[in-house]
């Protein structure tokens, strides 16, 4: 994470040297991304087809979320359910007060009570650790850099102004590529952290491990036609939708095997420390 911060500070330095219209693009894009940030909870729920459910519809789910929130010292988030066969869950919301956890009906069908608690606790740990904010900020300049590369080539290509634009484009390209990998590393780190946090909330690392194994076994078999546009949401899923195709460096989540392994270590740690 320190690397990412250093990279961004350097990047802002390089960018600020250059032309005003470039800064204008950055300004406009900041507004756009800011808007996205403030709408993120609604966007996320909407894109997953999840809708908020009240106490009378899912009393058990609400009670579990409430109890786990109390354990994590969090206000109870809103609870949403998506009608989907794919067993999955996610957390969203820029602040603790606007946050929501969502689960699919497939998840509730697939997992037993302890496993479902494990997954919910993992999502609550994301909220407690403010991962939406951290990842949004981390992705922000990366997105800017990406846009500078695209629009810079587009606008600057025709009439060349003493090569300054070119330097900005090259710098942005470097920033974008490097930050791409750093963000993914950061995301994997925060997945481990949420696994650990979730396991401490329930006191049962093995339940989350077994849930992960169950979900990942199912994930490969289930078609994901209805989830085409959700890749940017992956950061907050319990298990990313597309796994195995891209290399480990490109992955936002550690492999299920590695996560299960760490949870087992935690289990024995908890057993022995009592």
């Amino acid at each position: 994470m320190g690397l990412l911060v250093a990279l961004y500070i350097g990047f802002i330095g390089v960018l600020s040297v250059f032309t005003a219209d470039l800064l204008l693009i950055v300004g406009v894009m900041s507004l756009f991304l800011g808007g996205q940030f403030f709408l993120s909870d609604r966007l996320a729920l909407y894109s997953m087809g999840a809708s908020e459910v009240d106490e009378s519809e899912y009393p058990q789910l609400h009670a579990t979320v409430s109890r786990l929130s109390q354990q994590a010292d969090l206000p109870k988030p809103r609870v949403a359910v998506a009608d989907s066969q794919v067993p999955n869950a996610f957390a969203t919301g820029r602040s603790r007060d606007s946050s929501a956890v969502a689960v699919t009906t497939g998840l509730m069908r697939t997992l037993d009570e302890a496993e479902l608690e494990g997954v919910l606790a993992h999502e609550l740990a994301h909220i407690k650790n403010r991962d939406v904010v951290v990842m949004t900020i981390a992705s922000f300049l990366s997105t800017i850099a990406f846009l500078v590369v695209r629009f810079g080539v587009f606008f600057g290509g025709g009439r060349n102004r003493n090569g300054q634009v070119l330097v900005a484009i090259v710098a942005s390209l470097v920033v974008w590529v490097v930050s791409f990998f750093l963000i993914r590393a950061l995301s994997r780190y925060r997945e481990y952290a949420a696994d650990r946090g979730g396991a401490v909330i329930t006191g049962q690392p093995s339940a989350l491990a077994s849930a992960l194994l169950k979900i990942s076994g199912r994930m490969d078999q289930v078609p994901n036609d209805d989830l085409r546009d959700t890749s940017e949401m992956n950061a907050f899923f319990i298990i990313p939708i597309k796994a195995g195709v891209v290399g480990r460096l490109f992955s936002t989540h550690p492999s299920t095997d590695q996560r299960v392994e760490r949870l087992r270590e935690l289990e024995s740690e908890l057993e022995t420390s009592g």
């Binding site: 009378s56 409430s66 109390q70 407690k128 401490v200």
Partner: protein
């Protein structure tokens, strides 16, 4: 949120540290004096019931700790006359439910149970201490102590998922100062009864 909490969040350890923080059973004694105010100023009397809600762990050590709680309560029952039972509610919570017409003894017994779990190293699994009161018409109101927050809040269910907020605010304003009342209402976690008029422990 404090600066320290923010830093913990940035490094991704906020959830772990919050969930493993131990509760302090001593705060339960605040209820002993609040009870007098409930009776004298508001006309509520103790329903003679209290519950200790905790988040169980599926380990032999934890089960052993719960058994120790049971034996210490059995031993204590000789002095206090407090009856108790350990039970699961239908929504996944685990309870020690205690009955004693003497409110002082009730508080002492809840403290016994909570303290025993904390001594066994499971203080972080304590969620709530729930004290039941009723008015002249037999309508139940509760004071809930949250071990995670170190503060009390009132709870007045009117069915299985609705609450009487105006009575809650009244209770809050009268008892504030005597009890440490949770000021952030988003932490007033409801503990719904299974049936209308039932207790949170089901």
């Amino acid at each position: 949120m404090s600066l320290l909490d923010s830093i913990k969040s940035v490094f991704g350890v906020g959830a772990e540290s919050a969930a493993s923080r131990s509760g302090d059973p001593e705060d339960l004694f605040g209820m002993s004096t609040a009870y007098l105010t409930m009776e004298a100023d508001l006309g509520y009397s103790s329903a003679g019931d209290a519950g200790l809600l905790f988040n169980g762990v599926d380990s032999s050590e934890f089960r052993q700790a719960v058994e120790e709680v049971e034996s210490i309560l059995e031993a204590g029952a000789k002095d206090t006359g407090t009856e108790f039972e350990v039970r699961d509610d239908p929504r996944g919570g685990e309870w020690v439910v205690l009955h004693d017409p003497d409110f002082e003894d009730l508080v002492t017994s809840v403290h016994f149970a909570a303290d025993q779990l904390a001594e066994a190293g499971f203080g972080s699994r304590l969620l709530s201490g729930v004290f039941s009161f009723e008015d002249a018409d037999g309508r139940s109101v509760y004071w809930i102590y949250s071990f995670r927050r170190g503060a009390y809040y009132p709870f007045v269910p009117t069915g299985t998922n609705t609450q009487d907020t105006s009575t809650q605010v009244k209770l809050e304003s009268v008892l504030d100062g005597e009890l440490t009342v949770e000021s952030d209402k988003s932490y007033w976690y409801p503990l719904w009864p299974e049936t209308p008029g039932g207790d949170p422990w089901g």
